[in-house]
């Protein structure tokens, strides 16, 4: 998640204070990694420097004085362009996993056992995510779903590789 673009996007709804931006960011995007206040204000300063937001005058409040930030036309253009651009279709190649399988075969180690262990690790995480889904709010459930579908894809790869381990061993040993 790109923090500057997420904050810009939140400001595109309406002008907001740093405290409120942090609260909304943590609610929707943080997922257990709350945004430090320092990062919120340093990001807003950079966005202001680059002409993407403007900071209002300091306003007295219950606590220290605070500034209301507004998005500029340049900032809006950046948000629009970012939203219109599709996310790269990452291949999610399990390069470490694949490297380990190939090396295990080359070195005569038990690649099957390694894949079984990896499978169990994936399943354990999937159980944790399923538990999060059962008790969680819709936002948490949908994020858990995203992770579950990706882990499921990994597992299918593990199963296909398991089924073809003999052929892969021959290929690797011939090379």
């Amino acid at each position: 998640m790109t923090v500057p673009l997420a904050l810009l996007g939140l400001l595109d709804r309406e002008p907001s204070y740093g405290y409120d931006l942090k609260r909304d960011y943590d609610t929707y995007f943080a997922r257990g990694k709350p945004l430090p206040f320092g990062q919120v204000y340093s990001t807003l300063s950079r966005l202001a420097r680059d002409g993407k937001v403007t900071a209002g005058q300091s306003e007295p409040g219950d606590g220290p004085d605070r500034k209301r930030y507004s998005i500029t036309t340049l900032g809006k253009q950046e948000v629009d362009a970012w939203l219109a651009e599709p996310v790269a279709a990452e291949p999610f190649l399990q390069t470490v996993l694949f490297t380990k399988v190939v090396l295990a075969l080359m070195l005569g180690h038990d690649a099957q056992r390694f894949l079984d262990t990896q499978r169990a690790t994936h399943m354990r995480r999937m159980r944790e995510l399923s538990e999060i889904k059962r008790g969680g709010a819709l936002v948490d459930a949908l994020l858990a779903d995203h992770a579950l579908f990706h882990l499921d894809a990994d597992l299918r790869w593990i199963d296909v590789t398991t089924a073809r381990l003999g052929a892969l061993a021959e290929t690797v040993r011939r090379a």
Partner: protein
């Protein structure tokens, strides 16, 4: 046996080194597995690996060619056909991929059927069926013929039918295999949630990791052998 002074329950259901062949094809080879009371266990594996055969042997539908199957301290595979049928009717519930409901009967008839076959009074059978239909949010469809239900509704009716006798074990063979992702998830949530409330043991065969992730534990079946990934190697 105890751990930290607390008793550890013995297995409720156990396969001990069972073999089973279909002609020349050996579906199970010394397959061993144990399930503790209240546990939800997923049996996974590729098509043709022997996972459904294992489920059928555990449920007393098939008898193994060699090895033993134990249920609740009793040897299951040496019981007569009649005794095994009775056990399946009284102690086990079943959910299959396509519901396997009787299409000419209503939803309420289908759910009450196991109780009626077990010689429960008609009034009592339908009263209990109605309770389960309500828990599965099917009460408004109780008079509908099951042939008119959607896939998800039919599986919910199958779950009600499986649980209506308060069985010790529910066996589910690819219960979400014919459903879309979201409907399948709802069906699994209901099955697992109700089983936990009732303390019912569930053995579910699935090739879907998302279904297996709803279970407490999973084992893999490959070439007729059972592998427990948390122990490593074939289970003995």
């Amino acid at each position: 046996m105890t751990v930290d002074g607390l008793p550890v329950p013995g297995p409720l259901l156990e396969a001990r080194a069972i073999d089973r062949s279909y002609g020349r094809t050996q579906a199970l080879r010394e397959a061993s597995l144990s399930v503790t009371p209240g546990e939800i266990l997923a049996i996974m594996g590729p098509s043709g690996s022997g996972k459904s055969t294992l489920l059928h042997c555990l449920a007393g539908i098939f008898t193994p060619d060699a090895g033993e199957v134990w249920f609740d301290g009793r040897r299951l595979d040496t019981l007569s056909d009649a005794r095994r049928s009775e056990l399946r009717r009284t102690a086990f519930g079943f959910v299959f991929q396509f519901g396997e409901l009787v299409p000419e009967l209503t939803v309420a008839d289908n759910v009450a059927l196991p109780l009626l076959l077990g010689r429960a009074g008609r009034k009592e059978a339908y009263r209990r069926a109605a309770g389960w239909l309500q828990r599965l949010e099917l009460d408004t469809l109780s008079g509908r013929r099951t042939g008119e239900l959607s896939g998800g509704q039919a599986q919910r009716a199958a779950i009600a039918r499986a649980l209506v006798t308060r069985p010790k074990v529910v066996f589910a063979d690819e219960p979400t295999g014919a459903l879309d992702s979201l409907t399948g998830e709802r069906v699994m949530d209901l099955l697992v949630g109700l089983a936990r409330e009732e303390g019912t043991t569930v053995v579910v065969v699935t090739h879907d990791a998302r279904v297996a992730a709803c279970a407490d534990r999973e084992v893999m079946v490959r070439d007729g052998r059972v592998t427990d990934p948390y122990v490593g190697g074939a289970v003995r």
